[in-house]
Subunit: 237 residues, 2 copies
C-alpha cells in the first residue's frame, strides 16, 4: 500500500456528477482551476509549464471512492445495459479510484494569496483532489492510430438547446459574473446528461442541475431541450 497527498484541489462550475460531460474536452467552455495547497503552492513547480498547450490531471474520484469497485461495470456508452471489465472502462468505480483527464493549459497566476492554474475543457467536480499534473507530450501521448472499441468516437450528435425568455433574462443579468454561461449551459445540455437509457427521448419531467452557485432547470421536447429557468441556488421549487 502507498499513501498519496493531494497537491491541490479543483474549482469547477460542476457541483454534481449528473451534469459532468463523460470525458474531458467535450465542453471546452468548462473552465476551472487547480488551487495548489501546502508545499505545492510554489510557482517553481510550474516553471516552463506555459510551453505546453495541454496537461494531464491525475485526480481522486472523491465522491465515489468510498463506494468501492466491482470487476465489471455498465458504461453509459453501451446504454447502461452491457457489462465490461473495469479495466476496459473509464468508470469512477475502480480500484484505487484515480481519474485521468487531458485539459487545456490556460496559464497560472497568484490571486488573493493563492497559486492557481487555469484549465479548460474540465470534466471534474468542484473540490476534486488533484494528485499530479503532467505535461501532455504529443509524440508519446497522441496515438492517432489507436482504436477505441465501444468508445471509438465522441458521444453522438448534439441535442438542440434553446432558452426561454425568463432564462434569457437571467443570462443577461448574470453576464458580468459568468460571461460564458450560455455557452457552458448549451454545451453541457446538448449532450443530454440524463441517464443513458432515456437519451434522446422526450419526457414530461422538469430537470435541474447546479452550475457554479446556480440552479439550471430544463425540459426535454421531441425536437430538443429548453432551458426554462436559471436561478441562484437556494431558490428551490
Amino acid at each position: 500500500m502507498f499513501t498519496f497527498t493531494p497537491i491541490g484541489y479543483v474549482r469547477s462550475p460542476y457541483r454534481q456528477k449528473f451534469a459532468i460531460p463523460r470525458q474531458p474536452g467535450l465542453v471546452p467552455a468548462a473552465r476551472g482551476e487547480v488551487v495548489f495547497t501546502g508545499e505545492f503552492a510554489d510557482p517553481n513547480c510550474l516553471r516552463e509549464i506555459e510551453q505546453f498547450s495541454h496537461l494531464w490531471l491525475l485526480f481522486r474520484f472523491h465522491e465515489t471512492a468510498a463506494r468501492g469497485w466491482s470487476p465489471t461495470v455498465q458504461p453509459p456508452r453501451l446504454g447502461g445495459k452491457d457489462r465490461v471489465g473495469v479495466f476496459a472502462s473509464r468508470s469512477t468505480f475502480r480500484p484505487n479510484g484515480i481519474g485521468l483527464s487531458a485539459v487545456t493549459n490556460l496559464g497560472w497566476e497568484h490571486r488573493d494569496g493563492e497559486l492557481v492554474l487555469q484549465v479548460g475543457g474540465l470534466d471534474l467536480l468542484d473540490g476534486t483532489p488533484i494528485i499530479d499534473i503532467k505535461p501532455y507530450l504529443p509524440y508519446a501521448d497522441s496515438i492517432a492510430a489507436a482504436t477505441g472499441g465501444y468508445a471509438e468516437t465522441a458521444p453522438g450528435n448534439a441535442f438542440a438547446v434553446t432558452f426561454s425568455a425568463a432564462a434569457d433574462e437571467a443570462l443577461a443579468a448574470l453576464a458580468a459574473t459568468y460571461p460564458d454561461l450560455r455557452q457552458l449551459v448549451t454545451a453541457v445540455l446538448e449532450q443530454d446528461p440524463r441517464p443513458a437509457w432515456r437519451q434522446r427521448d422526450p419526457d414530461d419531467k422538469q430537470y435541474g442541475m447546479s452550475l457554479y452557485d446556480l440552479n439550471i432547470k430544463w425540459r426535454v421536447y421531441p425536437d430538443g431541450l429548453e432551458v426554462v429557468r436559471i436561478e441562484p441556488a437556494g431558490l428551490e421549487d
Copy 2:
C-alpha cells in the same frame, strides 16, 4: 492522504533504469506483461479489453519514490542542464511518484496459474507496481493539435548500432529464448542511453546494461555503437 493498493506488477526486460527509453512507445519491441495479484487476478476485470488497441498504465515509480521530489528538475531533453518545474516534466522525482504510460494491448491469458496481460512499447522497470489500467480513448486522449514545448518531438535521430562477431554468436544461441533480442537491443541502444550531457559523443568506456537475465556490453565510436558481448548475468568482468 489516500492509500492505494497495487493491482499487480510488471514483468519487463528492463532490470535497471539506465536502459529504459524515456517515454513509452519509442521501443515497440519492448514487450512485457502485467501480472495481476490478489482480488484483481479476475478475468472479469478485463472483459472486452480486447476492443482497445492501446491502454494506459498508471504505476508507481517504485525505485525512486523513496528519494522524494523537488520543485524543479533537469530534463534529459534539455541536456540535463536547464531546470523546469516538476509539473512541467515527466520526471520520476515528483510528488506522489505516479507514472503514466500508453502501451499497446497484446491480449491477456491464463498461464501457469497467473492472469497476465501482454503489452508492447513498454518503458517500465521489471517489478513496477501497477495502480490502474484504463483504455486509451482516441477521441478524448489523442490531441493531435497539442504542442509539446521542449519535448515537442520524439528524441533525435537514431545512433547506428552494430554487433561484434561474438555478440552475433550469442544472439544466435539465444534465439529460441529471446527471438526479438537483436531488435530490442538495437532499439534501446540507438537512443544512446548514456547521460544526456554525453549524448552522441564517442568515449573510450565499455558500457553495460541488463536486459532480461543478460548483460549487454557495448562501446561508443564516432560513427555509432558496437555491441561487444552478450552474456548471462553473473559473468561479470
